[in-house]
Symmetry: C2
Subunit: 376 residues, 2 copies
């Protein structure tokens, strides 16, 4: 994996770069659509390529491990072959899902026991076996197994959890070094900074992580309920420490505003279910603000969904039509809203790249943030 910073913003820590994997060249800042179970919900692969223009997507190790399972994935030559996606893939380690989705979780030093949310079967994730699993999935970027602390979380819990996450990291790094990719393309391994909303823990964690010399570094445990200001404060602390010349990935974030603020704080990579999940529920993100398409005010609005939008759905369908589909529970409504939102998120990060390149990022961001938060 190769990462180059091409441009830096003068008014902030924003950087515009390029991340090259064996599968694709990824312009950063980048947003990665979430393909939880091997599919970005409601969106065909060709739409992800041609309409959303996503150079990288995310898969969830927890979901893929349970279904279709490793045997099927291995037979397909990994997730790339299974879903027929020839650009990059990042997989999380499953830690977050074990703690948010699975039942009967038991955290032990060796790893996390849990019962499948699908059939109740019992499983153990360890720092080692999630590396093995991600080798089988074949993601270009794999993640270390961590405990994502909830919010709020007291200092003692956060500190103990962080120690465990760091021990797990060392075990994961060892396993990563002992094993090889299975499908002929290189795989990177990113450690994850934790530490809840405690600056000292975050700094300590960032220092610990930085020492690993990984090809990229992630920041987890944010956007879990804490005020956005606390998240930004943590990013400031962490990004001071994380190596400048390596990509920084903020996990599970967030709104368009969160993304612009985090870019200004030196973050390069993002993922979030918001564009698809909120889209399915009728929330549309646009450059003019947020639309709740279920609102009665759109009932007779025969204008395009987003005249400034970059995908075919923005022009081909009207707000009145999309409102009808979402209210009626028609699948096509979820498809349109998901595609629109993803295309918007990808447009936003491409635009951020251009603004950083032009030296106008900060002014542009200040102009965009009030617009992006407006409720239309």
């Amino acid at each position: 994996m190769e990462f180059k910073i091409l441009h830096r913003d003068k008014g902030s820590l924003a950087r515009a770069g390029t991340l090259i994997t064996d599968h694709s060249e990824i312009q950063t800042p980048v947003f990665m659509p979430v393909g939880t179970a091997g599919s970005v919900k409601g969106v065909h692969q060709r739409e992800l390529q041609e309409d959303v223009k996503a150079p990288i997507i995310l898969g969830n190790t927890y979901h893929l491990y349970l279904r279709p399972g490793l045997e099927v994935l291995k037979g397909a030559g990994g997730l790339h072959g299974f879903m027929n996606w020839d650009r990059s893939i990042l997989t999380d380690s499953g830690g977050y899902q074990v703690f948010s989705l699975a039942a009967n979780r038991k955290l032990k030093p060796e790893g996390a026991w849990f019962s499948s949310h699908i059939d109740g079967s019992k499983h153990l994730f360890t720092p080692e076996n999630v590396v093995d699993t991600q080798r089988i999935i074949g993601a270009d970027i794999m993640m270390a197994f961590d405990e994502c602390t909830p919010w709020p979380c007291d200092l003692k819990y956060a500190r103990d959890s962080l120690m465990l996450t760091h021990q797990w990291l060392d075990r994961g790094v060892n396993r990563f070094k002992e094993t090889k990719p299975l499908y002929g393309h290189k795989q990177a391994f990113f450690p994850i900074v934790q530490g809840s909303v405690y600056k000292e823990l975050r700094r300590e964690s960032a220092e610990y992580i930085a020492e690993k010399g990984a090809e990229g570094n992630a920041i987890g445990g944010l956007s879990v309920g804490e005020p956005a200001e606390e998240m930004y404060a943590m990013l400031e602390v962490v990004n001071e420490v994380l190596p400048d010349l390596k990509p920084r990935y903020l996990m599970g974030v967030g709104t368009p505003v969160n993304i612009l603020e985090a870019i200004a704080l030196g973050v390069d990579m993002f993922d979030c279910v918001m564009p698809t999940r909120n889209g399915r529920n009728g929330m549309l993100f646009t450059s003019e603000g947020i639309i709740n398409i279920k609102n009665r005010k759109w009932m007779n609005d025969y204008s395009p969904i987003d005249p400034a939008g970059s995908s075919f759905v923005d022009i081909q369908y009207t707000r009145a039509y999309l409102r009808h589909l979402i209210i009626s529970g028609e699948m096509l409504g979820a498809q349109i809203a998901s595609l629109h939102n993803l295309a918007f998120y990808l447009w936003l990060v491409r635009k951020a790249f251009e603004e950083i390149k032009s030296g106008t990022f900060t002014a542009w961001k200040e102009k965009m943030i009030p617009a992006l938060s407006t409720r239309l």
Copy 2:
């Protein structure tokens, strides 16, 4: 509307023709994807055009009347404008849905009272107001209001129902003649033959309908549970009577086998929810037979969904992948299966056209029917 028969099969009553509306030229035999509530479930309009290659789709008056409602449809310039579909549309009259979906139905000579399945609100459909509604929807082909008899159905009920359907037809024809299209394109009005599985009633009905001199004629009340042989027997009787030079539309039918048999009996137009509804549940129709993709045998089958298929999903996705998506309840599974099945149905009727043209229809049909019924 213009209908021309271009070729006739020597071994059967099959005909290959062209039906021209103000919106599109429709090669017949044709299958019309069902867009119940203004959307073919799971399929974008551009996919219907480019991948399924559908020259005409169907909308359901009952659903559209309830939601989005006539005000919204009128504001959009009818259903064509509302869903941004510039090819042809046929709407049913709502009769079938009133009897199959709505609650508290009360059949009166003036029409049918019912409660909405959405919010329980009370409504009356009459032979006249469903014409008015279809004027507002703006379908290229509108249907008369009828009672679709259930199966089984005794002779007395079937006869009384048929008398009512014929009276309603006269009232519908009058309203059709008194009213004009609203959007500048022509609209045709098809009467519907009923009569359950009674040959004498079917003949009587076909004679009554034929006398109306409509631009096309429909056959309803079949494929409602009766054995396929009874349906074919009714088609034989009815098609002897219905004008040869007008298109014949068999409503709500059916399997690929049903369609080929009915083409051989002189039917030109079909619609059915089967390709989309069964597709969402994992049933795939192919030229080699029927696939239940949930079956364990497809778990490790990394071959394309349908190597002989005509749409992009057939080649881009594997059976193992589709099985995983359907079993996991991922939207994309329903999207892929629906698109595949619709593309297959449209391929089948285009192929029937070519075989009729080549004078090889009957031999081809005899070869296809066992294949189409095979469970793979």
